[in-house]
Symmetry: C2
Amino acid sequence: MAKQPSLEISECPVARAMETIGERWSLLIIRDALDDIRRFSDFHKSLGLAKNILSSRLKLLVEIGVFEVHPAADGGAYKEYMLTERGRSVFPIVVALRQWGEQHLFEPGEVHSVLLDKAYGEPVTLIDVRSAHGSVLRPEDCYRRREVKQQPNERAL
Amino acid sequence: MAKQPSLEISECPVARAMETIGERWSLLIIRDALDDIRRFSDFHKSLGLAKNILSSRLKLLVEIGVFEVHPAADGGAYKEYMLTERGRSVFPIVVALRQWGEQHLFEPGEVHSVLLDKAYGEPVTLIDVRSAHGSVLRPEDCYRRREVKQQPNERAL
């Protein structure tokens, strides 16, 4: 059996991102938080997963800076899990997953949710990969280059 | 312990997408295929995961229409895993994961790959969520509505 490489130290940002937030429940927890769910009991009701798994995933997401824990906004006893900027910036990933699912995983006649913008009530545009000059790029239009990171993260891990 | 809901029949396209391609290795296999890797031995060399796991993930990805298996282009004995259009359309998801990783998971001085377009040699633009009118949308600018799917998938599952 091959040795499993650690994705956490990979030079590939896709691998590190999958290792950090790519677990199925973690991304669905972030999806719910983007829909304004903040409390343990509401995540539990929405996702229906075991409480111990939900608890461990929330703990991990706090540790990696996706959530901050705050006292309840209404002064109650419950704490709230609030997305940080790092957490909120997962939004395009969730929308790209949503759009792929909408396109490929529903049969005609099946019901699914669509994402609309509040200002116009119209569906958000399809996410695509674009050059700095605005043209849509296919995989074969791109290549990768190794670079040394210059700018600090918005928050150190 | 709460009953685990089946994400495959969820009305949420994010949940279905995660259930279908969201497994860590599955998305990294698709990432490699987008970089033109086509053979079992090359996926194995790139990912370093156990052969039985690689084999089961490739089988699943063929079953859900992300890959088609072809005879080797050079007439050799090895088969090749070619991305379908459904598989190629995972590209924006992989790029969104990449960009989140680049922004949040590397310290200054660490090396990572960046994605550039071949025509200009410039980094691809940051993926964001936009309205039909071109404005960048934050999570709180959006809402969801249930809809009945009208158009058939490009290929039935």
